[in-house]
Every structure is written in structure tokens, then in C-alpha cells.
Symmetry: C3
Subunit: 377 residues, 3 copies
């Protein structure tokens, strides 16, 4: 499972963003840079929060997975500002975002005692709204000067499909990587698999329906097909059932495709949010769906369905939490969404402000989405 998550971060996210015709080096290279930096910093941060003993950080394979998860949220935010920032800005953003991620995760998992194995809230909702806030602060009014470079070419879209497929195939491992071994892990993989499969069908159908002449749009296939994995991130390890997963996956594919067609242009023209990869459609909205579905599934849990022991184990209703009822747990899950959103908006605003300082060497508007600025081409 660790290697699968590792592939998702470096090949999945890296190649997913190579769709831009002149920014393939930056997409895969800067993703490599920030992820390699981020996992080191995340190992330290999460070590201090979770596995610090006698002045030493204990590291095991689970810590490596958690570091990858943390970096996943940075990769998501990178999608919003792709092509518009310098590598130094990315490193600075990574430094702060990893820190905030760890704080947010600590609040959710340890203080609110929320379940979020696949990270709908901690990774996707937080990462996406953080990135969207940063790109809002860094708004570039003259970005249409590089509009001609913001498209794809035939082969760049095929490279991006490598990223899409690896994310899609390994998402069951992502959502189940840190679930309890045994039942919860199997449930998680199977629910995610069903949700993703359903999501592909609704994405294709709506992509075709929403275009003139019924043609498919590669942007939707590359991105919206993955929304099904995001939308079951919280609930996959719970008793969502395969049928429930199919429904959630179908809905998230529709929402995400609609987002690419209607929301992204609206966000850019009205709210001045320039979202290069459309992370609002792939991570933000499906992440919220995932958080809400998770809260409902938790609130609807009964001992009948999970079995007495399975019920306690599924939600860790032990120690100080042994009096928690499912409906209270559902309330805490909902609170987790709100906390993640607040952390994302506040953190994104501060970090965006820092990145706006004119000391980081970012490119002029006409040089955005252009590898030639930072790479020997």
C-alpha cells in the first residue's frame, strides 16, 4: 500500500499536471521537488505531533504513508497555482502548508476524534480550499496574456492520462492504506473501487451531453473520473455498502463535470480565482461531499450492521470516547469539515500574503505556463 500511495504522489499528481503544452517539465519536476521536500518536513512535523519519545522520533512505514498523505494536500494546492509561481514560492508554500496540515490533522483526529482514513477532509477539502485561497490572493489580472499557452497538445494529454490512470487505479489503496487491517481495509478498498467505477460512467455521459455536438472533453476524463475516490474518502471504511458507493461515485462524477463546464469559468471571471487544474471540481467539491457522506454514514451506524465489537472498533469508541453515540460522532465529523475549511481559508490567506511579497522571483504574466523561464529547454 505504501508503494501505491508513493506512485500516486509522484507519478499520479506529477503527470496529471503535464497536460499544459509548454509546462510539462515544471509540472512533473516541481511536483517532484515539493513532494521530496514536503515528505521530509512532514516526517519531522508528524513525528513531533504523534511519535515523539525520549527526544527521538520513531519512524515506521506508517509514518512514510502519512508523510505522503500530507504531501498529497500540497500537490492538490499546487494544481491551483500551476504555472504561475516560482520554485522558491512552492517551497515556501510547502513549508507552511505541511505545518498547517499537521495542526489541522491533529485537531481533527486527536481532539475531535474524527474518522477520516482517506482524507476527504484533511487532505482534499483542506488542500483544495487552501490552494484556492492562495491563488485568489495571487490573482493575476493580465493572465490572458499567456492564454495561448494554457491549453494542451495531443501528446501532453496522453501524458496526463498516465497520471489519471495511476491515481484512479491506486485510489483503493490510498483510501485503505491506514485503515485497520482486516475488515475495515477490505471494505475501504471495495467501496472505493465501486465509487470510482461508477464515477467514470457519469463523467463520460455528462462530458458528452454538456458539449456541443456531443464530443468528449479530455479535461473531464482526466479529472472528473477521480472525484469518486475523493467523495468516499471518509466513508469508505464504514458500512457505506457497494450500492451506496455506486450512488456517491455517480453523483460526484456529475458534480465534478458540471464544475468544469460552469463553475471554473465563473470562479475566474467573477471571484478572480484562477484555478489552473480545476482543483475546485476534482478536490474541493468532492471533498465536501466526502465529508458530508462520512458524517451521515457515521450518524447512521448501528450495532446491528457492524456487530457489537466491530462497531466499537470501527469508530474507536474506547476510553474517554466510550459514551459517544453515532449521532454525536456524526456531529463531530461535521465539525471536522468546518474546522478544515476555516484552517484552509485562514492559512491560505496568510500564506498567499507571504507569497505575494515581491522577493520570490515569480514570472511575469506573459511568461506563465512556460517552462523556458525556469528550465533549459
Amino acid at each position: 500500500a505504501f508503494q501505491d500511495v508513493h506512485v500516486m504522489i509522484f507519478v499520479g499528481f506529477g503527470f496529471l499536471m503535464t497536460f499544459l503544452k509548454r509546462y510539462g517539465f515544471g509540472a512533473v519536476g516541481f511536483n517532484f521537488l515539493l513532494a521530496a521536500f514536503g515528505i521530509q518536513w512532514a516526517l519531522l512535523m508528524q513525528g513531533w505531533f504523534h511519535s515523539f519519545k525520549d527526544g527521538k522520533i520513531l519512524i515506521g512505514v506508517e509514518n512514510l504513508i502519512n508523510a505522503d498523505f500530507c504531501v498529497g494536500s500540497v500537490c492538490i494546492a499546487f494544481g491551483a497555482i500551476l504555472g504561475k509561481t516560482s520554485p522558491i514560492q512552492l517551497l515556501v508554500m510547502t513549508l507552511f502548508q505541511v505545518t498547517l496540515f499537521s495542526v489541522n490533522e491533529y485537531i481533527l483526529l486527536n481532539l475531535l476524534h474524527v474518522k477520516d482514513a482517506g482524507g476527504s477532509m484533511t487532505i482534499h477539502t483542506f488542500g483544495a480550499y487552501f490552494g484556492l485561497t492562495v491563488t485568489r490572493i495571487l490573482y493575476r489580472p493580465n493572465l490572458e496574456q499567456s492564454k495561448d499557452k494554457q491549453g494542451s497538445v495531443y501528446h501532453s494529454d496522453l501524458f496526463a492520462m498516465i497520471g489519471t490512470l495511476y491515481l484512479w487505479m491506486y485510489w483503493p489503496s490510498f483510501n485503505s492504506a491506514i485503515s485497520d487491517h482486516g475488515d475495515a481495509q477490505h471494505r475501504s478498498a471495495i467501496n472505493t473501487y465501486c465509487s470510482l467505477a461508477a464515477c467514470v460512467l457519469t463523467t463520460m455521459a455528462f462530458s458528452s451531453m454538456l458539449q456541443k455536438k456531443g464530443k468528449l472533453d479530455m479535461v473531464h476524463i482526466q479529472n472528473a473520473t477521480l472525484a469518486g475516490g475523493v467523495a468516499v474518502g471518509t466513508s469508505a471504511e464504514m458500512m457505506l455498502t457497494p450500492y451506496g458507493s455506486l450512488i456517491v461515485g455517480s453523483i460526484s462524477g456529475i458534480v465534478s463535470t458540471l464544475g468544469y463546464v460552469y463553475f471554473t469559468p465563473f470562479l475566474e471571471s467573477r471571484l478572480h480565482i484562477q484555478d489552473t487544474c480545476g482543483i475546485h471540481n476534482l478536490h474541493a467539491m468532492p471533498g465536501l461531499i466526502g465529508g458530508i457522506v462520512g458524517a451521515i454514514t457515521a450518524a447512521a451506524a448501528t450495532e446491528d450492521v457492524y456487530g457489537k465489537e466491530g462497531f466499537i472498533k470501527a469508530f474507536d469508541f474506547t476510553g474517554v470516547y466510550q459514551t459517544r453515540t453515532p449521532s454525536i460522532q456524526g456531529g463531530f465529523q461535521a465539525a471536522g469539515i468546518v474546522v478544515s475549511l476555516l484552517m484552509a481559508f485562514a492559512g491560505g490567506a496568510i500564506v498567499g500574503g507571504i507569497l505575494k511579497l515581491p522577493i520570490w522571483g515569480d514570472a511575469a504574466a506573459e511568461n506563465c505556463f512556460e517552462d523556458g523561464i525556469y528550465w533549459e529547454v
Copy 2:
């Protein structure tokens, strides 16, 4: 093993078919669509046949692997009609083929009690002859109008090599995924590995020998190198021995390469079978070889070689089958080949007839092998 098979279906088959210069989106995108649809339908079909209890389908990871296998046979058939059908036609074909696959598999594994862990008969022979029959029925006399688009360009061949290598590397997992844990699984992986390695050498040698000027042909390297995996699909878990595997792999590489050079043009000009990817060479003939080698290996089994317990376990000679002898088993294995062929021809003819109805919106002959018809390019 599940993730390996998953990668083979989505990345392996998807990218293997991107060799066409103007049909990369269709290859990888429609493969994605039909596979995502097919695994859902296959989960239901196989659930009804094999794991239906108290009105519910029980799903475990083995079911997901079986669904991937079933979809594998659809991906194979897709190779024959690649570039000539609409996405709607593909979905219709998937619907019927998954159903027929499940019936055929039920007859072979449950009624005939045949061993076929790597699916030489159920997946390759059935899938390939099904697809070849469909493409025969859908024969397009004016296809030479799009002949200029039926070739590859330099980078499309490299994308296809991604597919080839993933299929090649993970084939040992494919053939051993549903073998009994322990000895049979190890045997299966090692035999497949040996067969594939030998196959690469004979493919390269014959590709060079059969061309003028001794140059290698990328089509052979992309495809015929995989025939060794197909040809040991049935027998890999049996006592084929590494030397036996090397021989089978060598032969299948030669047969497959000869097929590309001589059979494919013959099939097209004389039998009106337009086989875009040459699945007759990669799946049909090696699948038959695999079925025959399996029948012989089963018939030649003795308690000396397997050990008394291993012998019974290898062929499941328990219950009503405890009086079966190896030679009788060999006969049933041979019957399995015949049943698979009959199912493929009959099923392919019916489904081909349905797909020929003028209601599915397929492209005109001059628009075949062209992404622009179904995709925003």
C-alpha cells in the same frame, strides 16, 4: 496481485492500443470507459453465478480480480475493432460479452471442471475469437479510405511500449493471481516469467529475420513479446517446469511474429477480417496453444511428480471428481477449448449482428482511426 492485474487492464491494454497516430484518446479513453463499465457488470454477473447468498452478493478482493479478468477479455476484443466503432457500440458489446464470458466460464470451471488459472481459454481464446467474429460481421469494405491514419508515429509507439512493458512485467501476477496460495502460485509466476523471457528473444530474432534489411518492427516488439504469457495461461500453475516454459514461450513468440507478417494481411484480404491490433496473433493463436499445452500437461500429470496430496490439490480431484484420471482431465481440458471457440463464434456472430444495426452512430469509413469524431481535439 489485484493491483497488478488492475494496472494491466487500465494502463497495459489502454496504452498498448495508443500506437495509432490519431486515436490515442480513443484507445486509452474508451478502454477506460468499457473497463469501468465492465467491472461493475461483471461483479453482478459473477456474483449471481458464484457468490450469491440470501439475496445478497458477497464481494471480496478475489471477486475484484475475477471482474478484472472478465473485462480483460473485452479489452482483447476491443483490439480487433479499435478505431471503427462508437463508444455506444463498445458499451453494448461489453454488456453482452461480459454475460457470455460468465456463462462460458461457468461451463468450463464448474461443469467441465477444467483448470484455467491464467485464462488461456476463458479470457484469451474466447475474447479473441469473439472479437474477430464481431469485426468480421462489421466488415468495412472501404476502410482503405482511412489507411493513412492506421499507422503510428514515433511518440505513439513509445506510449504503446508503456502498455507492453506493464503487461509483460505483471503477467506473472496475472497468471498466478487466482492460483492456490503456496506452491501453485509460485510455480505459476516462475513458469510465466520464463516463458515471457524466452518469447522476447524469439520475437526479436524473427522480427529481424522476416524484414527486408533485417530491421526490427515495433509492432512485433509491442505485441508478440507478450504471447509467451498467453501461451502458458492454463499450464503455468501445473508442473510445466521452467524448461517446458522456455520452449512454449519460444514457440509462441515465433508463431505470433509470423502471424503479424503473414496471417494478418491474409485474414484481411481473403477472409475480410480487419484486425486493427492483430489480436489473432497476440491472443487467439497463443490462447489455443495455451489450451492445448494445458491439456497435454494435465494429461501427463503423475503422482510421482506432484506428490500424492499435491496431485489431488492441483486438479481438485475431490468429491464427485475423485475418480478422474489425468488423461480424462486432459480430455475435458480439450473440450474446454472447443466450448470456448463455439461460444466465441456464436456469441460474436449475434453481438456483431446487433452492432451492425444502423442505430449506434458509428463513424463513416473515412473517419475511422480518428479521435476528432468523438473527442474535442
Copy 3:
């Protein structure tokens, strides 16, 4: 772990070398050929040396991993002569190099009782200096006639990044694949992960610092980022500690990047060593670093750190070796480096001499780095 190593050999090394604009087929195709041939020969060679019983070779999954390792050293040597040799020459080189590799490995592991789980000495140092010696013997004075084809184009660099990322991601599996299960294997994976992560940062920093205008060079990112995995190959399973790994990884990234900028041109102009992929920077120097770090780490081992049992187990101080002390072990480790170098120089000189015979059909200098000579394009 076996599948991870397999992916590194075929996709990792294969695509890493596709950076040349007109030699992608040769890079990935010939790598496929020599690796498929090499693993069969290596299975036989290593079988005779290590698992020969009663006239039969016993094969298990560990043998397949060892065969992949052995072939890895051939892939490394292939990097030095990439684009300048015929497929027949490659097969001849593979035949001899696999044999010499097995002899060298036997001397190191069995006679000197050296630890080298990740192969810093046996795979990287031996493979790289072997390849460099061969390319020195095959020196082509008129190679600048094909200088225009020795560069990359935009998409060929992206294909190469696929190779880089798979090598980078799976390197922890490579270094830990044949370590003892349990502690040593975990240590190995985590140390390698830390070293690789640190290596990316120093590579990026120095790549930017050493170029005019501070631009990044794709050649460095594709190669030098991997030096961190090579440089902990021997010591990763020992108590190198994560901090030690970060330091080793940082240094190797710097050394490797400096090598690409200063050493490679020097080697070519003064020593007449034409090193197409720069394996001196990626494998030779980091391999030496790895051997030395391994010798030091072994010499510095104490029972305090490993625990009494862990200490004996880590270095296999049992049987005739039970009187070995860490400092003596360090001396033997150092001797292992020297033996590997001598084997590489002597073997490379002999094999280079054989390959220089005018009977293997190698291309003229103006046709180097050109697929059209050996492939239908």
C-alpha cells in the same frame, strides 16, 4: 518487492534512456532485449553458483530478484554505450557481464563475506566501471558527426522522467528486497527513502546554481536525483540512521550534479570516455560513496546500537565468521570495493576488446543515436 524491482529494470532503466530524440525505440527496445536475455542467463549462472542440488537448479522468487539485480548491472553498463552499439554487441556484452557479475558477487558475498544488500559494490560500482571501460575501448573519434542527434526533445525528456520516477519511487524496495525480513528490511527502506528525498533537494539546488541564469537542467533532474539510492545501497540495512541517510543523500546529489557539469566533458575530451547517459555520475561515483559509507558504518557498528542478537544477525557473524569484529568487517567491505573495481576494469577491457572485432555490425559514427539503422521507423 519482486514486482517493484522488475518495474525498475524494464520501465525504469528502459524509459530513463529514452531522452535521446531519435533513439527511443533503441533505448526501451534493446533494454527489453538484453534484460530478457540476461535474466535467463543469470538464472542459470546464479543457479550453478548458489542453488545447485542433485543436478537441478532450485528456483524461487528470490532467484528472480537476484536475476533482476544482475541484469541491473548490465542496464547500467548499457547506459555508457547507448546509441553506439548493435543489438548483437549488446547480447555478447550481456553474456559476458552476467558471468563476471556472478563471479564477482560470489567472491564478495561468499568468500569475503561482505554485506551489500542494495548492491552499491556488486551492481553499481562493478556495472558502471565495467561499462565505462567498455566504452573507452570502443572509443569513436568521429562521434561529433552525430552530435546533433545526441540531444533530447521536449517529449523525449518527459518519457525519461517516467523512468526516473519509477526508479526513484521503487528504490527503497530495491535496497531492501533481499535484506532479512523484519528490522533490517524496514531500516533499509526508510534509510533509502530519506537519502533519496534529500538528494532531490541538493540536486535541484546545485543544478540551478551551476547553470548560467539559474535555470534547471532536465539531465540533472532525471539522473542525479537517483544518486541517493545508489549511495546507501550497502549501508541502508545497517544502522545508518535517518539523519545519516539525509547527509549521504545530500552529498551524493551534489557530487552527481557536479559530475554532469564538470566531469563528463572532461572524461570525454581528455580520457576519451564517451559516456552517453553519464553513468559515471549516477552509478560509478555514488557507488563508490556507497561502498565507503558501508565500510565505515560496518566498522562503527557496536552491540550497544544493534543489540547483541541483532548485531550477530545484521552481519551474519556466525560459523567461521563468529570471531569477526566490526573493524575487520569494515576492512573486508573496503576490500570488496577494490575487488569490484578490478573485476570491472579487467572484465571491461577484455569484453571491450571482443566487441571491437569488426564482425558485430555496429553502425558508422554518423549513424549513432539513430533508430532508423535498426528499426522500421
